[in-house]
Amino acid sequence: MKSLILTYLFKTTIVAHMKKKAQYRGLFPGALEMMILKTLSWKPMHGYALAQRLKDISEDYLQIEEGSLYPALQRMLKTGWLETEMGLSARNRPVRVFKVTEAGKKHLEQELASVEKMFAGITRVLTLAEQ
């Protein structure tokens, strides 16, 4: 269930992002950031690896422009949820990897909690509405 929600969020967010800045006024502000934080807190990664990973776990359901991640990454760097450091890529090349900060972890926890609450509410309504 959770992964389905994430996939849905991911899709809407990316599409919205392509339409300029509208995404944050949309239904799920902060969804892309949440997914990035979740993925990166599993392992620090560079941009390409992050994009690949997001694609893989959504089982290629999403056909996205990889570049769309970058504005979001910059925003998160600016807010202080992420930081960068030098690391190695899968091919052992030196690359700049993104890593979740303490602030980022805290933010992720809060967001997950509130999203879960929201979906619990929505699910409950959807389940019980016609009874």
């Binding site: 560079h46 941009g47 422009e65 570049g67 970058y70 504005p71 990454l73 910059q74 600016k78 700049r96």
Partner: protein, 880 residues
């Protein structure tokens, strides 16, 4: 300060961003190559799947920026580049704007100092002036002591009422006797104004009691005379031979009245109470010479106070019909309005004029910009083809005009800095509080405000027009298409400018005519080669010997080399001194309150001879007209005509209400002479009736101002005069040494500065209009080169072409003139109160202005018309 750090480290972020994107693409390409793609294919695929690298990078960078600010900055940068690309154009615009904004800032700094700044007292909005008046406002007058005392006890609208009048006295007992200006006030000065002494105490009600002599001194006087000694409290100083105890020092910023910045002391009305006179001033209900200021109680409006005072005045008029019939009403107005008086009209007229000048300047610049839009058509079309929307283009063009506005504003401020002192010198003392004006921070804010406003005013229409570009046709025609509406716009701007120019020029023309009439008006005496000065003869020393002193003094004065004749006078023309007196005609007795009145002047012998006032009938006063002789008087022609039309006034006996110190009230006086009318003020609409009394028959009246007719330069006599007075009494400092020409010129200061400023602004407006008209005609000729070429090729006469251009200009001029004349007729009446001897709708002024504006305008159009006529058809047709 995080944002600040980010601002400075963002270039590092940009680098890292580019690096990350590069790594991303490399890694992806390597993966793809592993799957068997060639390097070239792999790189292309990587890029395709990544998206638009440049756009994504830009989007990501924006995270670190302030988008609005930075796009404004980039607009500004672009605007600066545009300005530098057209230096000639930019210079012209900046110069035109600098003139407009500089003039506005200068005038506004004066308006601000004079009209907008609150009075320097606590809660000044609660301060009002209360005037006595007849049934109508315009008869408003000063107040008598007994009336003031009644007001003070009966009125409930005020926390305090304060009465005051000017005074001056000689400080003696110091190294050199010093002439000091001061004020006699009722005890409420400190609580009414809300300004406390910096040292000591304010007056208390006891200080008004007869015999009390206490004094508050100014900060400057304290510093200069007592070196700021704090033990000055309780010390006594001798003023006019009387000892006064210093009870306090007022702070340095204290100025009361605001129009008298040089006052050195304030004392209570006790000095007016115990003159060992038959009737002290404080008991004389018919002597009106006090100004009354009140502090309204919180929540009481001016209108409520006005109502209450009217009721009180009416009640007093019933109670004291003999003295108060003429003052049966009162009115209350805000203190600021009363300090300003008529000046505010004049200042607002000047401010309006200078704003119109700026409007004309904006019109010119708008026209220049409209012409430039044509040159930049292609550039703008290209920008919209590349995706700029209309708002973006308007914003860019507005940024350019705002930048021009700001550049003009900065130059204007510099101009204002340079001009303000000169304008202040021109204004002199003729406008209260003007001396405080200066280009300070709020004024710079004002200048910035009007700069931006002008930027919008002259930029918006060209920007909107430019952004309406029809893309396809413009690019197809290579940028030579034209927007037909431009000409219509440009022409209306010119028509508007001509109209406004006419209004300003008519205003200036009226003021100039009025001023010329004022200077040419007959004064009734010969003002050149007259020296005037004054000194006090204090009661303490001269109460009984004043007449003898004057007699001796004038004898010795007349004997000085260079002196042709000399006399003494109280209420000399061209000073602001004036007194009115009512008189009784025993042959036609009237109730006391309705007696006629006239201006009063009292003089020594030889006065008419010295001023060269013609003696029309009868005789002048002589030395034998003393206390023992029959009491006499002289009247002017206006008096004879007004009160005794068709009769011989010589020998008539009247009783002017002037006490001569003898018991039994004012004596009956015989009219022994009639003299010509004398103009008392520089600006005076009519010659009122006047009575002259001999000073020798009013020995208790003080003091005479000396007036000397010289055969040499009057000012060269100053040292001799000072020596003479000081040889007679070293405690008599001579003050106010002025020539009559100087006094006359001071009186005309206000009309003069209004005339010069409005004249300058009208000239500027006319110049800008003519330049604008020239620009529009020249532009129109250059745009119509091909058309004119065709006409000429088809056989048109060069004269016809010239006439065609002149005709176009004439149409614009005539429409503008017609509108301008109509607007002048409507608006000139605001000048009414500042005009003398000329009607606001004077047809001569209107005609002269219209003809000269039209002729100058045609002259400006003549040059382009010659150029049009000299177009070579071959060349004109080939260039297109």
């Amino acid at each position: 300060m995080n944002w600040l750090r980010q601002f400075f480290t963002r270039h590092r972020h940009y680098d890292e961003l580019s690096q990350s994107i590069r790594e991303h693409l490399d890694e992806k390409a390597a993966d793809l190559m592993d799957r068997g793609l060639t390097r070239e294919q792999a790189e292309r695929t990587a890029r395709r799947e990544f998206g638009n690298v440049t756009q994504i990078e830009e989007c990501s960078r924006e995270v670190w920026q302030w988008p609005t600010l930075e796009s404004i900055l980039s607009d500004a940068k672009y605007a600066i580049r545009q300005m530098r690309k057209a230096p000639g154009f930019s210079t012209v615009v900046v110069v035109i704007l600098a003139l407009g904004i500089g003039a506005n800032t200068t005038v506004f700094s004066i308006v601000d100092a004079v009209m907008l700044r609150p009075l320097p007292f606590a809660q000044p909005q609660r301060l009002v002036e209360v005037k006595a008046s007849g049934e109508q406002h315009f008869e408003s007058s000063d107040v008598s002591y007994p009336d003031f005392f009644d007001w003070r006890t009966q009125a409930h609208s005020f926390e305090h009422l304060l009465a005051y009048h000017d005074t001056s006295d000689t400080l003696t007992g110091v190294n050199r006797p010093l002439h000091l200006d001061g004020e006699v006030v009722s005890w409420e000065m400190v609580p009414t104004l809300g300004i406390s002494p910096e040292l000591g105490r304010g007056f208390s009600p006891e200080d008004e009691k007869q015999g009390s002599r206490v004094i508050l001194i100014s900060h400057t006087f304290w510093k200069t005379q007592f070196a700021g000694d704090r033990s000055v409290l309780g010390r006594s100083i001798s003023l006019g031979g009387n000892l006064y105890t210093i009870i306090g020092v007022m702070p340095a910023t204290f100025r009361f009245p605001v129009t008298q910045p040089n006052n050195s002391f304030w004392t209570t009305l006790a000095v007016d109470a115990d003159v060992t006179d038959i009737r002290p001033l404080t008991a004389n209900r018919s002597t009106h010479f006090l100004t009354v200021v009140g502090r309204l109680k919180p929540g009481v409006t001016v209108a409520q106070a006005d109502q209450e005072m009217k009721v009180i005045a009416a009640r007093l008029a019933k109670q004291y019909p003999e003295t108060n019939t003429r003052h049966s009403s009162a009115w209350v107005q805000s203190e600021l309005a009363s300090v300003l008086g008529d000046t505010s009209t004049l200042l607002l007229v000047v401010l309006g004029a200078v704003m119109l000048v700026l409007l004309i300047a904006c019109g010119n610049i708008a026209n220049l910009l409209l012409a430039r839009v044509r040159d930049r058509h292609r550039e703008i079309a290209m920008r919209s083809a590349l995706g700029a929307d209309r708002a973006r283009i308007v914003r860019q063009l507005l940024a350019e005009s705002l930048l021009l506005g700001v550049a003009g504003g900065i130059a204007g401020c510099l101009l204002a800095f340079a001009c303000t002192p000169a304008v202040l010198r021109l204004i002199g003392d003729s406008v209260p509080r003007a001396a405080d004006a200066g280009v300070d921070l709020p004024m710079l804010g004002f200048a910035l405000g009007i700069s931006l406003l002008s930027g919008v005013v002259f930029g918006i229409v060209p920007a909107l027009t430019a952004s309406k570009t029809d893309l396809v046709s413009t690019l197809k025609e290579g940028g030579y298409s034209d927007i037909p509406s431009h000409d219509w716009l440009r022409s209306s701007v010119i028509v508007g400018q001509v109209a406004v120019g006419i209004v300003l020029t008519v205003g200036a023309g009226l003021l100039i005519t009025s001023f010329v009439r004022l200077t040419r008006m007959d004064e009734g005496f010969t003002p050149d080669h007259l020296l005037t000065f004054t000194f006090d003869l204090p009661d303490a020393t001269y109460k009984d010997t004043r007449s003898q002193f004057y007699q001796q003094y004038f004898e010795r004065l007349r004997a000085l080399p260079g002196v042709q004749s000399a006399a003494g006078v109280h209420n000399l023309p061209m000073t602001y001194d004036l007194a009115m007196i009512s008189f009784e005609d025993p042959e036609h007795p009237l109730p006391k309150g309705q007696q006629p009145n006239a201006d009063l002047t009292f003089i020594s012998t030889d006065y008419f001879h010295t001023l060269q006032v013609p003696l029309l009938r009868g005789r002048d006063f002589t030395d034998s007209d003393d206390m023992k002789a029959p009491q006499v008087m002289i009247v002017n022609e206006a008096f004879a005509k007004r009160y005794f039309p068709g009769e011989d006034v010589l020998g008539k006996k009247l009783k002017p209400g002037a006490l001569n110190g003898m018991p039994g009230g004012p004596p009956l006086r015989e009219i022994v002479g009639v003299v010509g009318n004398v103009r008392h003020f520089g600006v005076q609409r009519e010659m009122p009736p006047a009575i002259y009394l001999p000073a020798s028959q009013l020995p208790n009246w003080c003091c005479l101002r000396s007036v000397v007719r010289t055969s040499v330069d009057p000012m060269s006599l100053e040292p001799a005069v000072r020596r003479l007075v000081s040889s007679m009494d070293p405690n008599l400092p001579v003050t106010q040494v002025r020539t009559m020409d100087e006094l006359f010129s001071l009186q005309l200061a206000q009309p003069r500065f209004a005339m010069i400023l409005l004249g300058a602004f009208a000239g500027l407006a006319l110049l800008l209009t003519v330049v604008g008209l020239y620009g529009v005609m020249a532009y129109s000729v250059s745009r119509r080169t091909r058309e004119i070429g065709v006409r000429l090729a088809l056989g048109a006469q060069r004269n016809t072409v010239m006439r065609m251009i002149l005709h176009d200009a004439a149409v614009l001029l005539l429409i503008g003139t017609a509108i301008g004349v109509a607007a002048s007729i409507v608006s000139a009446s605001v000048l009414k109160s500042t005009l003398y001897g000329v009607d606001p709708h004077d047809p001569l002024v209107l005609t002269v202005v219209c003809i000269s504006v039209t002729l100058t305008g045609l002259l400006a159009a003549y040059i382009p018309s010659i150029r049009a006529a000299s177009i070579d058809p071959m060349k004109a047709l080939r260039t297109e």
